[in-house]
Symmetry: D2
Subunit: 337 residues, 4 copies
């Protein structure tokens, strides 16, 4: 059994991750930390969670485990990752700290100096596009939830060099409220969210823009700018991104891309391309470990890709398990059946 520790187990991502690791056949949860609930159990925080004891992060010893999962806020995660790596453990960081290759870009988007620049660049933990670099890695940056949905939607077009050069990629994304975290805020108050629907940080203002563009550029040259508009949905979980791609008509007709996507994702255990004519909905992915994609060709210039994931699973916890499995040489979907 591989011994693991979970930092930040009582956030929404931490709870899901604890559930997954609790019944993972090759993992054993040695500790789970919580700042505010240390001394209690995870089941005491959330009724249907496993009965894991919660310890203070200060009392957790990363050197006592084989791997740590960091469900901590950005800037808090990287120092723990660094300490864990020093102590010989591997680290899967679910925060944003290891996602950007460059400390300078990190400072630009997050407004502070990077807390552990020697860990950069870290392997980007989206197995479908970077599996080879994740396998055996000592630390991995688990992608952002929005970034996962958008990258899996756009990646095949990048690889096929199908996009109109310099035309913007427009991703209109909608996320459930758990994506905003468990700390109570007015924007997550039930009476403010129920019956409402709200855009936020639209255009090029959201931090995931940097992460998505970095990976698009790394994987296929430079497409046009990403325009990314997140919205808050009155549901507890799930992300749906409606992506408008402008195609280079010299490349292939919009109708040809269904085959491209099916082939590219044919062997992926966690990505499903719907049959032509069907549209992905949030229900296709919520409480699953999968990204589900649908393709709607509009005309020779435009392709709409709808991409859905569960923000807490494929957008965070189950993707972390995929990465964990790859890092330790296990089957990628181990524990995700």
């Amino acid at each position: 059994m591989i011994k693991v520790g979970i930092y930040g187990a009582t956030g929404y991502t931490g709870i899901e991750l604890a559930r997954l690791l609790w019944r993972h056949p090759e993992a054993q949860v040695a500790f789970a930390t919580s700042q505010s609930n240390a001394g209690g159990t995870l089941a005491g925080v959330y009724p249907t969670a496993p009965p894991l004891p919660l310890t203070s992060p200060d009392e957790a010893d990363p050197g006592s485990v084989d791997a740590v999962f960091l469900c901590l806020p950005h800037t808090a995660a990287a120092p723990v990752a660094a300490a864990a790596v020093s102590a010989g453990a591997r680290a899967i960081d679910l925060s944003a700290d290891l996602r950007l290759d460059s400390p300078e870009v990190y400072r630009q988007w997050y407004g502070v100096a990077h807390p552990a620049p020697h860990l950069l660049p870290a392997p980007y933990g989206l197995p479908e596009i970077n599996r080879i670099n994740i396998a055996g890695a000592r630390w991995v940056a688990n992608p952002g939830c929005y970034a996962t949905a958008v990258l899996l939607a756009v990646y095949p077009l990048i690889k096929a060099k199908a996009l109109m050069p310099s035309a913007p990629i427009i991703a209109d994304a909608k996320s459930g409220v758990s994506g905003a975290g468990r700390t109570p805020k007015l924007t997550t108050h039930f009476a403010e969210v129920a019956g409402n629907f709200s855009p936020y940080n639209i255009g090029r203002a959201h931090r995931h823009v940097a992460e998505i563009e970095q990976e698009l550029n790394r994987n296929g040259g430079a497409p046009g700018p990403l325009i990314f508009s997140p919205h808050l949905l009155p549901v507890d979980r799930g992300i749906l991104a409606t992506v408008y791609a402008q195609l280079d008509p010299d490349n292939a007709p919009a109708g040809a891309y269904h085959t491209l996507y099916q082939e590219m994702y044919r062997d992926e255990p966690r990505v499903h391309v719907l049959p032509a004519g069907q549209l992905a909905t949030l229900s296709h992915a919520v409480r699953t470990y999968d990204c589900v994609l649908s393709l709607t060709p509009v005309d020779e210039f435009t392709l709409i890709i709808v991409s859905v994931i569960d923000n807490l699973l494929k957008g965070a916890a189950s993707q972390a398990v995929q990465n964990f499995n790859l890092m330790f040489g296990l089957s990628e979907s181990c524990g995700l059946e």
Copy 2:
């Protein structure tokens, strides 16, 4: 025009009250206070609210208006009521501070000394059962939201001495989330409330038990104990109370009470008794100023009364306007058409 001031205008009750007073034909809002949004406007806090400027409570002068409405937390409201009354203004207190007749009982339920005992006992502002004492009063205790729903359900039985002596009155009540206030808490986080339903303070633990029993006892001798079980509904507003009354079969058959209720509330502008066979639902009352009641006789011993109100209107703001109208000799439903 009657000049009024609103203390605590940015809570959910304050916003509704501001809407009502803003278009009340006989009232003019001279000031509206907010601790955290002073300097802004109410429309800046909530998009569809009136464009009232918000002032700090310290800068508001209760002596400059004819009446103040207090949408403040308990213990904070009574001192402002006292100051307003001293300055010659009338006060409608929407907090719990003036609801209990006795400072000792207040201390017992609220855990602190009463901040203005010389205002007790205050007229209880439920017009349907206490209109005569509200008319012309200088200060009034606006009832609790649950108390309004339960008292209007049970009052006719009390008046008719129809209850089985010493049998408990069971009120199983369900409230929308706005009843918990606008301050973000984990218990009002969207992701915790959506898809959930939770009892809290059930039995005889909720503070409204004291208020309801006080009024039941005042109005008709001593029935059995109130068992009151509030639950949090995943809706933004509305209260539905399902009340189980055990009848004295020597008095009248359960089926006779429909006529009793219809007669007792026939002339009430803000209470409606549904025809026999219909059941009240939350939708009957949400966004209205009314209490809607339905009666379901079960057998000779048991009558079920379903009582619904909008917690922010008949349970708070529009009831405060009824009281304001009565205090100033206006038509009781003035501004509520």
Copy 3:
């Protein structure tokens, strides 16, 4: 008083229209029809609706009133409009029957011959862009709900000839469930919609594409194609459209358009442009008669306009009242205060 009749009063739009006309100071509801609830009252169908008696459409006499409002399905509405006009009444058609100028285009999108081609082209009832042709008209086509939201978002750019020629206009729209009508369907079943979010008819498949492009072309030459993607939101009412406009950078910088919108809509009683930096949310418009717009310039090529309305009000019933007021020479917002 102007006598009016409402056909189809028990659908969601009909109920809202009945509420508005019931308290309209210049209108008197002479009849309200319902196929399935004839003989009852509107309040019997929906608790908080006005107590209007419901008559069978066959028994309603359009010649007995000054105006009829048609909340009927397409193909059913136009014949009633024709009959009403023949009988001397004016007609506001809330169905799609009179929206398209040409019977051929109607057949193409609706799959049947137009039921009353002599009424085409009808004045398009979006007051903000066609007020002059609505005033005094004998019949008017009330716009589609999505069309209202998208046209008010794009119209200023069309007038200013600011769009990049031939670039697509992308409108990613989200609607509450009442937009799908009151007839129960699996797609509107609570257990299918709650926690879900679904695209439908995306690309250029939705019927409102024809209507929106017709009006864009009429008002300013030919922009690029409209790409329109509706989604079903788990809320009961409201539409939010996120519109991505590609600008001709030779015209003006994206940042200049805030002033353009403010000026164009300055005197409009039912359109509000938010201050720069604010984003429109569904809550800005739900249960109001207004369209609320926010502008987010992204770069010199792209402007995002967020447009929100209440689909049942500005998207249907209150817009019909605006048109009614204009047709009869009343103040446009009469009855909408």
Copy 4:
């Protein structure tokens, strides 16, 4: 492997049952029927369901399997159960057809003659109170969802003869919308349910009253009448029943019952009694196979029991699997880990 067939696999209960049996280690789904989707697959009906082919019920052969599960409407289920039993298969009936011991009582509550009276009385499939009669049975009546929640709440008091003789037992119950089935109706339309909360069939009118009282009487003499008030919650799944029991104070103080419940359910794998002071909420049970109970003693005469289950799992599908396991001599929670 035990071969099983599922009749009515596309209703909400059928889908859950198919999920459970699909991964049950000892069961193999030989067929799944659907009247309206025959020829398709279950995954085509509901995205995340297993890819089971759907056959017409007429083409399914109950003689080809070891057991059938009947997720059919009442009156349709019993004839299939009879045919299956004749053909040598065992039957777990999730409809109401086999729940009442007497055909006369069935006719009284369901308004039709019982379709297979020779199967009555059938073992009542609530393992916690009737395990001995389920083990090895050839057919079993799976309990109603409300009945499960209420019986598990009240059963310990019945066994302990703790109830005040002839005093009513009041069960105020609230259910998610999936309990009303998948067939679209106005009462399950999203726009009617969202933001609403509705009682229905309250008092002694709901059919589960007969079933609950039958089992209470069978298990412990005759308590007072059950007063049972179901309400429709705006959530997709889950039942919470707030049960008010009037105690015989000669028996034991209300505070003593926590120990009683803990002891009675100590070894039950699917029933959990919360620690004193905690209250059960819907979230404790939704998407689990368990009934969770909390006890709140009010005074010496009254005990409140809150009982929660997932209506589709412990209230239907997973309870059917418990029964299946017992009938075939498997571990009761096999397939429910």
